[in-house]
């Protein structure tokens, strides 16, 4: 939005749908200005409409490679087309982390889900599980109680990391119960769908929990497959390091949102970082013009 208003010659390259992970969110209750709360989809729809009003050019394509060193940055698309730019803002975001246990891959879409808001209505009056203990896990567990008869939250620690107001709601909800200090070791099912979970408890014991669905909400991994990792500095998780002006170590290259190495992954953070990155890019480009 800042780039379009600044009349920079800007192209937004988007692989799938504009909106990313927010589209997976049932309810956004902490974005300023939306005092009644708003669905993730509506918020993204409004943001898209907002940039459209300023005429931002968009291209729907997947990036396969990037060369960000040097003054001309080169971006290769899946079609083989090469685009050049003087400055690039990396905002590829993150995607849900998988459990990486037997049965997960085979049963995806048949009882294994990473999006409660998409799939909750398929579990009306059924018993299901949520794995995780952060904000996303607890928020979506609460959403799932609108449909499921029982929601078991499986968490590897003995307390939740979610913010206090979500914890209060979860503990007060009769349909939610907890299995603490435990991890899912296998998802059991067949062509018809998920049947149960094998659970490994931290004290060494094991158990089996019959459920028809499991929602895996255990954090995110970076969308960095298309990034030139050898040119950038990243943390051990593969997230890109920047300074507080969103500058990466490469001149003219910035990063914003969940792809950055940071602690808080909130919509408000991402929006602010996007603005900061754009202003940094604008400053960089105006200096280039002077030179």
């Amino acid at each position: 939005m800042y780039a379009a208003r600044g009349r920079l010659d800007t192209l937004l390259i988007e692989k799938g749908a504009t909106g990313g992970q927010v589209l997976l969110t049932d309810w956004v209750d902490n974005y300023p200005g939306f005092h009644d709360g708003i669905t993730g989809f509506e918020l993204m729809d409004k943001m898209t409409a907002h940039v459209d009003r300023f005429g931002l050019e968009k291209k729907f394509a997947a990036v396969t490679a990037m060369d960000l060193q040097g003054e001309q940055k080169v971006i290769t698309l899946e079609s083989g087309e090469e685009l050049t730019a003087q400055s690039v803002i990396i905002s590829t975001g993150a995607k849900p982390r998988k459990l990486d246990v037997p049965g997960e891959e085979e049963l995806q879409g048949r009882g294994v889900s990473y999006c409660a808001t998409c799939d909750a209505p398929f579990y009306r009056d059924q018993e299901i599980a949520v794995v995780g203990g952060g904000n996303t896990a607890v928020q979506e567990a609460l959403h799932l109680t609108k449909f499921a008869s029982k929601v078991t939250v499986i968490h590897r620690r003995d307390s939740l990391r979610a913010t206090a107001i979500l914890q209060e709601k979860a503990f007060a909800e009769e349909k939610i119960n907890f299995i603490w200090d435990a991890q899912v070791s296998e998802i059991v099912g067949n062509d018809e769908g998920v049947e149960s979970l094998n659970i490994q408890h931290n004290d060494g014991s094991t158990s089996n929990l019959p459920v028809t669905g499991i929602f895996v909400l255990i954090g995110v991994v970076p969308n960095n497959e298309m990034l030139p990792m050898e040119q950038l500095e990243t943390d051990e998780g593969g997230f890109v390091f920047t300074d507080h002006e969103m500058c990466t170590k490469l001149p003219g290259v910035y990063a914003a949102g969940d792809i950055r190495s940071k602690n808080s992954r909130q919509i408000i953070n991402a929006a602010g970082e996007g603005a900061t990155a754009e202003l940094s890019a604008e400053h960089y480009l105006s200096n280039l013009a002077v030179d």
């Binding site: 692989k15 879409g109 999006c115 998409c118 799939d119 769908g193």
Partner: protein, 111 residues
């Protein structure tokens, strides 16, 4: 959501057999619902594909709220799910909001 695309027809439980299973063309069925953000978000890509493959592959949408029987029959528990049908048989499927290239790859399995 009103379907404005001229290439993407909607199907329901009652006409699924005639529209999809007995269709001479391969059919890609997009199972979606109005409450699913990613489903709506891939809508424009589905419309583009329908235009590109017009006359070769029939691309249709089914609202799982209005037509619960068909998704149940195919074991759908997550949306968006896209199933490719050829000669009445479900030959492959993708779940999740994937990109255009992956959808094209799915469609190519019909030929």
């Amino acid at each position: 959501m009103e379907d404005k695309s001229k290439h993407v027809n909607t199907v329901n439980d009652s006409d699924f057999e005639s529209m999809v299973e007995k269709n001479e063309l391969p059919c890609l069925v997009d199972f979606w619902a109005p409450w699913c953000g990613p489903c709506k978000a891939i809508g424009p890509v589905i419309d583009e594909l329908a235009e590109e493959f017009a006359g070769k592959v029939q691309i249709v949408k089914m609202n799982v709220d209005e037509s619960p029987a068909t998704p149940g029959k195919f074991g759908i528990k997550a949306i968006p799910t896209l199933i490719l049908f050829k000669n009445g048989e479900a030959i492959d499927r993708i779940t999740g909001a994937v990109g255009k290239a992956q959808l094209k790859e799915l469609i190519s399995k019909a030929s």
